[in-house]
Symmetry: C2
């Protein structure tokens, strides 16, 4: 055998190249050749590590979803000691607003995948349904906790408010992606809305 290379590392390298080209030219314009060029390898190698283009796209989507989850968890972790529910919720939802370049790439490509998945049967809806539903339950838990400790109005319907929150952050994220709003403006709107959900006590 030759170099005996780390397969996972190679795959990750190629997938990252795909994500970069997808963010630049659009997911629809991604080709075996463009990915190979961006990754600095031959087309044959892309074939070698991902047999077919469909498998490459699927692997990229999987990696994308995983990285998104990591980013959310990182955000929650760095929110400071003994955080209030409002802080946790804010951190989680702000992750949907693309600020840095990596975040922008992620959300752009992710959205492109989501739209693609509606018509393409090969891209099963798993990552597009499992993750948000999980998130919804998480938010319901946080809201309920806030209601128990008097940080939020107990008369509110936690489930509906959670759905509204997710919709708001998704909608704001999309508008930032489309260049309609800056990330800062979107974040301000989100904080405004959270201010209504978690009234300041005085």
């Amino acid at each position: 055998m030759p170099k005996l290379v780390d397969h996972e590392e190679r795959r990750a390298h190629i997938i990252d190249a795909l994500l970069r080209t997808a963010a630049e030219t659009g997911l629809h314009a991604v080709t075996m050749r463009s990915v190979a060029t961006e990754a600095g390898v031959s087309v044959r190698l892309v074939q070698y590590y991902f047999d077919t283009k469909e498998q490459l796209l699927l692997a990229a989507l999987t990696r994308l979803a995983a990285r998104m989850g990591e980013r959310v968890r990182d955000r929650v972790r760095t929110v400071g000691p003994s955080p209030a529910p409002r802080d946790i919720v804010e951190a989680v939802l702000l992750e949907a607003v693309p600020t840095d370049e990596e975040s922008r790439t992620f959300h752009l490509v992710y959205t492109a995948y989501a739209v693609l998945a509606v018509t393409d049967p090969a891209l099963a809806g798993q990552p597009f349904l499992a993750a948000p539903n999980e998130m919804e339950d998480f938010l319901v838990g946080q809201l309920a906790a806030a209601q128990r400790t008097g940080q939020s109005d107990p008369r509110l319907d936690a489930r509906q408010e959670a759905v509204v929150l997710l919709a708001v952050s998704a909608g704001l994220g999309l508008s930032v992606l489309l260049g309609q709003r800056t990330a800062q403006d979107a974040a301000a709107v989100l904080r405004y809305h959270l201010g209504r959900l978690f009234p300041e006590r005085r």
Copy 2:
């Protein structure tokens, strides 16, 4: 000359064929041939009425945006006599939730266009920025009117609430498109949120 046909009608016919195929197989999979087949004409005819594919796509987007505007105006018109701001706002925002098949087609293809426009410079962002900004101003006006007549809390920031409203309806519409929620559920969430914005007086 031969039949001396109505150009606009022919163009509309072909564009509708494009929208149908785009809704079924995805905008990325739309080809001159598929559109021609769906429209029941030859490829040559599609070329004849829209010189290039890019022009065809652009014309379809223009028609799509126009039809969307019509639908919103129709909704507002049929909201009943002497409508309250809440009814108007509800009607406008519910248009973003794809209920019937035509609405679903519109929003799916429109979203695909929006994602495409981020990377494709040929699709200038005009329809993606002008329409929402117009809508935002409209909502601000309705909210301000409601605040003046005591139908809504005057301490609220009408501008920010309008942005939240648009984001919520966009996010809910997307989740319906992705099959995460039914249109009925999304409508219920929207009404719940409106209920918080326009409290019932008792």
